[in-house]
């Protein structure tokens, strides 16, 4: 046990790679789905070991207070999602939407994706982080297109093209950062190692950093799904398998956001450079309000919640952009809560779509009557995502809005407007879906509710009571984010 402790960080990466290789070889989908769950569980436990004892930062990998949170969240949601997908995917096979061959590919890719995201999080090297994000993106592209339907392929293609452009922009930003770092730190790998870069950030050339940040913001912002770079997100969510939608919303967006945050820290470390805050605030507000209005005309339930992800990413970007211990804390909390809630919602939506055999909102009615557990679960989820107590997102929105209004009243007004508009839209759709005369099939749900309610329970608990260690941790990170 002690022997492997230092390598927990490596394990987080190795386990997915190995299991991906194995999964690619196993024909039987029952075994592979179980194995998938097992692998995710192992990754999760490895990630948790990181809390126990933190390895020294290396040239390529490291763990600090910031990314350990993300890693833990990432692996946890990865695990629950694998649980969900294990029950979900078999149904896809029965309905013939997928063939065993594709299923094998699916499971392998799932682990590759997890690997990519974990790598992006723990990498201590800007270049490596970039490569990892690209890897995660490409793997998700393949997953999105897995159904091979016209719409799926088209969504995948859109995702692919926009994603590649984003990658390119991000790369240029990374190069610029290197250029800025080189005169101070000297040539070679050292100038790309995060831990060293951040130490000398103060003496970097601000002009270069400015340009770099713009490219990085747009590049990784494309992945975050900030408007107007969001175009890929709704379709990718809507057309891919639901577990992937859950992972996209719950994890990939966070990973990209993590990258943006890193560079925000870097920029705010150098005094003369432009303040990254305002840029993020503006993009956040645009995304929030845009997505809020887009919610009204959605007909596909998964696309609806995809747009709500854009909205929440906007809120988070706003919070981090505002900065300060309170807002950063709120941002972190909101991000965590959003991942949990949104993935829970997608679990529920997945069940709904399988039972009713459609994703069209108009064709789903009276869930609380026809499928009480599922229906009320969805209601709780939407209530939570809409920011109502006693669920976690309420707390973060409380902090964001109140502190924003105290500091920049004029910024808070569009924020509040966006929140209200989005709330109206979500509730409108919810009351259509959850209440009224049931329609469609009344067949019971086969898949397990465990992941969904596990997430909802956590969100609920967080809304009432945040454990002290977590709080101190978040506060520490918030201070770190400046």
């Amino acid at each position: 046990m002690n022997g492997m402790l230092p390598d927990a960080m490596v394990a987080v990466l190795i386990i997915p790679v190995v299991s991906a290789a194995i999964l690619a070889l196993i024909p039987n989908y029952r075994v592979s789905s179980r194995l998938n769950v097992l692998a995710s569980l192992l990754t999760l436990s490895a990630a948790l070991l990181l809390f126990a004892r933190r390895p020294e930062p290396g040239q390529f990998l490291f763990i600090d207070d910031l990314n350990i949170v993300f890693v833990a969240l990432n692996t946890f949601v990865g695990f629950t999602t694998s649980l969900f997908s294990a029950t979900y995917i078999s149904h896809e096979l029965e309905t013939g939407k997928l063939t065993p061959a594709y299923l094998r590919f699916y499971h392998a890719m799932y682990q590759v994706m997890m690997f990519g995201m974990n790598l992006a999080l723990v990498s201590n090297n800007l270049g490596l982080m970039w490569v990892a994000v690209e890897l995660a993106t490409l793997s998700t592209v393949l997953m999105v297109g897995i159904y091979r339907t016209h719409e799926a392929l088209e969504a995948a293609w859109k995702y692919f093209i926009l994603g590649s452009v984003g990658i390119a922009l991000a790369l240029f930003g990374t190069i610029l950062v290197y250029m800025a770092a080189r005169p101070v730190i000297g040539e070679g790998l050292e100038a790309m190692v995060w831990t060293t870069v951040i130490q000398h950030a103060g003496s970097f050339d601000p002009a270069l950093l400015n340009v770099a940040f713009i490219f990085l913001l747009l590049g990784y912002g494309t992945k975050v799904g900030l408007a107007p770079l969001h175009a890929w997100l709704p379709d990718a969510h809507a057309e891919g398998p639901t577990p992937i939608s859950a992972v996209l919303s719950g994890l990939l967006l966070n990973v990209a956001l993590y990258a943006v945050l890193r560079f925000k820290i870097l920029l705010s470390a150098s005094p003369q450079a432009i303040a990254p805050g305002p840029l993020m605030i503006v993009m956040g507000l645009i995304s929030l309000i845009f997505a809020a209005f887009m919610l009204y005309r959605r007909r596909d339930i998964k696309r609806l919640f995809a747009y709500s992800s854009i909205e929440h990413m906007g809120i988070i970007a706003f919070a981090f952009g505002m900065g300060g211990p309170l807002a950063n804390f709120a941002g972190l909390l909101h991000m965590t809560m959003h991942s949990l809630t949104k993935s829970a919602i997608f679990f529920a939506v997945g069940h709904v779509a399988q039972v009713k055999g459609t994703q069209k909102i108009a064709d789903i009615r009276g869930l609380t009557a026809s499928h009480p557990v599922l229906g009320w679960g969805l209601v709780i989820g939407v209530i939570a995502i809409a920011g109502m107590p006693p669920l976690g997102i309420f707390m973060s929105e409380f902090l964001v809005v109140s502190s924003a209004f105290a500091r920049h009243p004029l910024l808070a007004l569009p924020l509040v407007t966006g929140l209200l508009v989005a709330f109206g839209a979500l509730l409108l759709r919810l009351s259509g879906v959850a209440f009224g005369e049931p329609c469609g099939s009344l067949a019971p749900v086969k898949a397990s509710y465990v992941p969904m309610f596990a997430h909802l329970a956590m969100v609920f608990a967080a809304g009432i009571y945040l454990p002290a260690p977590l709080v101190t941790w978040f506060q520490h990170v918030a201070r770190l984010l400046g």
């Binding site: 270049g127 692919f160 990658i167 240029f172 290197y178 002009a207 400015n210 340009v211």
Partner: protein, 220 residues
Amino acid sequence: MIGLQFDLAHLLAGGLVLLSFMMLYQDRLYALLNVFAFHSVVLALSVAWQAYIQDAAHLYVTAAIALLFKGVIIPVALHRMIVRLGIHREIETVVGVGLTMLAGMALVALSMVVMLRVTPGADALAREDLAFALSVILIGLLVMVTRRNAVGQVVGFMSLENGLVLAATGAKGMPLVVEISVAFSVLIAFIVIGIFLFRIRERFDTVDIGALDQFRGERR
């Protein structure tokens, strides 16, 4: 010696920008491809030159990749694809050439303004390279935006990526350059194959992206 180094590098980088401009006003796909091939060759040269003056051996690999993959294989592949798709004599730009050129000018100017802000502390070579690279990237994006069909856009994307490589190699001692260029080649291969796949599956009667996303998520 420094002077010569500088001048040659400068020349090659400037050449790249020039070629990007030429791409802007090509309305025939063939011509576009040819210009692009030339673009890649020049890139390969400049990378090689950088490899020589930085005496960084691994950059030669990048140069080779640029030369072979983007200078030869991809253009040829696309060439044949165009023939097979029978779209070789399509004239397809969105806005008029003149306007595009003006936009290109503006972009170059913009990138200059932005980049020359950089304190001369960073060596001049890097600054020049970066300025040129930035303009190549922006023009590449402009090409992508002003082209209707997928091949044109892919070419635009690749020229953009050339700009990236130029920047990467211009950055002295930048690690992972080779890996990155490889990764990008893979990416481009994906794209090309993607187009090709769509063609073969007979899902889309043309690779015009306008048709490709006729569905666009939700019907109105």
